[in-house]
């Protein structure tokens, strides 16, 4: 089974030995100029935001003053990672339609967020998902559980992004892996620590606009080189790929039916449980703005995934038959992630290639900053302010803790990024999505839509889902076979969502019902004692 997410593909593809980023070799002036410009602009944003990010409200939620449109663009930025720009096109070059299966699946994720959770989230919460759950359930246990689930998802996602980023930056700019890690870590700590949600959101907006612009430019140029005839572009792609017409049948669907359905479910539902996506809804003024923001996010994100239909087959059609971009084995020079970069070189020379490389870099920075902020909020808001320091915490000490947590998470992710450099970390994204589908999403849906949910039920369901998703991923193809090198997986499905998600829902419902049956007596004794 293929890795679940394109960000994982960045990781996979980047693991191949480095080649010179461009056919000519040497430093790309356009790339370095854009790279420096992006760093300066984002640091400028952070400086501007730092003077505003002094209250907890500003730090976690940008004071709830991000407009629906702005938040929508930032949200789309969260969803379209470097994996979407580079990994999907690389996957299409390597195995054809598979890349489009992911593009279509991810596109269906955000609508669910607006249909079922976005508005309620904004209405009930302040800074974190746990705020929402704590309005109905006992605060201490639910915050501890949600913080742990958030940290699990964020850390796995972050490590995968860091490893992918290090390898990508090494390929794009010739920077050593170690320095790339430190550079990305330092910049992300800087954005989050000084600029909080305000800076993180604006960095994300800048990146999303650049990314969409670059995507549209590449698509138009590649279509133009085929006389704006999409069919002849696809025909050329099919002709140059060694497997020809067979590439139109996705290999991800070659396994069992359960496997295909489980993958489909995960792609569609995983988004609605990702804490860094959900946290975005606390930055807008009200529920209506939350709704409007997902509308803009869906327009941008779905538009971008539609462009992948052009960019992916375009990359295959243009560079698939060009020896300058292929290595001796006929694979893409520098790995699959370089497909889009090579395509931009073929279309617009060094200048366009430099631009697209820099945009990919900005994308990585924005995504890791968003993840770090989400993890830091779970520590400072849920664990510190509401539990550990419930009596002593002040707004100022809470912000101090969140800055400390940001530094710790940043340093930890750099260290883990270095530790996992040569490891296959593609499973970490699968894991983040599986945990999201099996623990945070079921709790959120039940808490929002089912009156009967009790604290015990929520914790039981969440823990079963979290542990189940981690355990079955370890015993499944992504870790048991691809990392540990065993011949056959103990658990056959990757991702395990089709098993773990229903089990989490069932456990939560069952325990809640049993809990309720006992509850009247407990409630009575409590009432008497009061």
């Amino acid at each position: 089974m293929r890795s679940l997410l394109p960000a994982g593909l960045v990781v996979l593809g980047g693991a191949t030995p480095a080649f010179a980023a461009e056919p000519g070799g040497g430093m790309n002036v356009a790339a370095v100029t854009m790279f420096v410009a992006i760093v300066l602009v984002t640091l400028g944003i952070t400086y501007w935001a730092a003077r505003r990010a002094t209250s907890a409200d500003q730090f976690y939620a940008a004071g709830g003053q991000i407009s629906g449109f702005q938040n929508g663009i930032a949200l789309a930025g969260d969803m379209i990672s470097a994996g979407a720009l580079l990994g999907l096109a690389g996957l299409i070059c390597a195995s054809g339609f598979d890349g489009l299966i992911f593009a279509v699946g991810y596109a269906t994720g955000l609508p669910f967020v607006v249909f079922l959770v976005a508005e309620r989230l904004r209405k009930l919460g302040r800074y974190t998902v746990a705020d929402v759950l704590a309005t109905r359930l006992a605060e201490t246990p639910i915050r501890i559980f949600t913080a742990v689930a958030t940290l699990v998802i964020v850390m796995f996602y972050l490590i995968a992004q860091m490893v992918g980023a290090g390898q990508l930056i090494r390929l794009l700019f010739g920077l050593d892996y170690l320095y790339a890690q430190i550079l990305v870590g330092a910049l992300m700590i800087c954005y989050v620590m000084f600029g909080g949600m305000v800076a993180t959101t604006w960095v994300q907006i800048v990146k999303a606009v650049l990314l969409l612009g670059a995507g549209i430019a590449i698509s138009l140029l590649v279509l133009a080189s085929f006389g704006f005839n999409y069919d002849s572009l696809v025909a050329r792609a099919v002709a140059v790929h060694p497997r020809h017409a067979a590439i139109m049948m996705p290999q991800v669907y070659s396994g069992s039916v359960w496997q295909s359905v489980s993958l489909g479910m995960t792609l569609m539902l995983g988004t609605a449980g990702l804490p860094h996506v959900l946290m975005r809804f606390f930055t807008v003024p009200d529920a209506r703005a939350a709704r409007v923001s997902v509308f803009w996010a869906v327009m941008c994100q779905s538009g971008f995934f539609a462009l992948i239909f052009v960019i992916g087959f375009g990359a295959l059609a243009v560079i698939g038959g060009d020896a300058a971009y292929l290595d001796a084995r006929g694979a893409i020079r520098g790995g699959g992630n370089m497909a889009t970069i090579h395509l931009s070189h073929a279309l617009g020379g060094d200048r366009l290639m430099g631009l697209v490389s820099a945009v990919a870099f900005a994308t990585i920075l924005a995504v890791v900053a968003g993840l770090t902020l989400t993890g830091a909020s779970a520590v400072s808001h849920d664990l510190y302010a509401r539990i550990i320091g419930r009596r002593s915490a002040t707004e100022r000490s809470e912000i101090r803790v969140s800055r400390l947590a940001t530094v710790c998470l940043g340093v930890l992710s750099v260290l883990l990024g270095i530790a996992f450099q040569t490891q296959n970390v593609a499973y970490m994204i699968s894991l983040a999505y599986a945990v999201s589908c099996s623990s945070t999403l079921p709790l959120l849906i039940l808490a929002l839509y089912w009156r009967g949910l009790t604290t015990r039920g929520a914790i039981a369901g969440g823990v079963v889902g979290l542990v189940g998703a981690v355990l079955l991923t370890v015993l499944g193809p992504p870790v048991w076979v691809k990392v540990l090198g065993n011949a056959a997986p103990i658990f056959p499905l990757d991702p395990p969502t089709i098993v773990t998600m229903p089990v989490a829902f069932l456990t939560a419902v069952l325990v809640s019902v049993l809990d309720r049956r006992r509850a009247p007596a407990a409630a009575l004794s409590q009432a008497v004692s009061v």
């Binding site: 279509v104 609508p111 607006v114 249909f115 999409y230 025909a235 669907y253 539609a306």
Partner: protein, 87 residues
């Protein structure tokens, strides 16, 4: 915040747009499900050219239509929900 807290106790199903949300989620699932389902049940249908002699397959057009449906359904939801909550 206090108004929000009392709201929290009201089940979400009572909100005017909750039913709409579930209907939209169901439609989206059916659309995406039929894309995935057709691939599983009849791969030949999906890999067939959309017109004789063309390289573009049914699945390529289908995939683009699924993506388009996310935009249309979300747009429709926001439009209707804004109207429902404006009352």
């Amino acid at each position: 915040m206090s108004a929000d807290r009392t709201l929290a106790r009201a089940p979400n199903n009572d909100l005017p747009q909750a039913r709409l949300g579930w209907i939209m989620a169901l439609i989206q699932t059916l659309i995406y499900g039929s894309f995935v389902g057709t691939f599983i049940a009849s791969p030949a249908t999906m890999t067939r050219p959309v017109a004789p002699g063309m390289a573009v397959t049914v699945a390529t057009v289908g995939g683009l239509l699924v993506i388009l449906s996310t935009m249309v359904l979300t747009g429709l939801y926001v439009l209707l929900a804004n109207r429902l909550t404006a009352r």
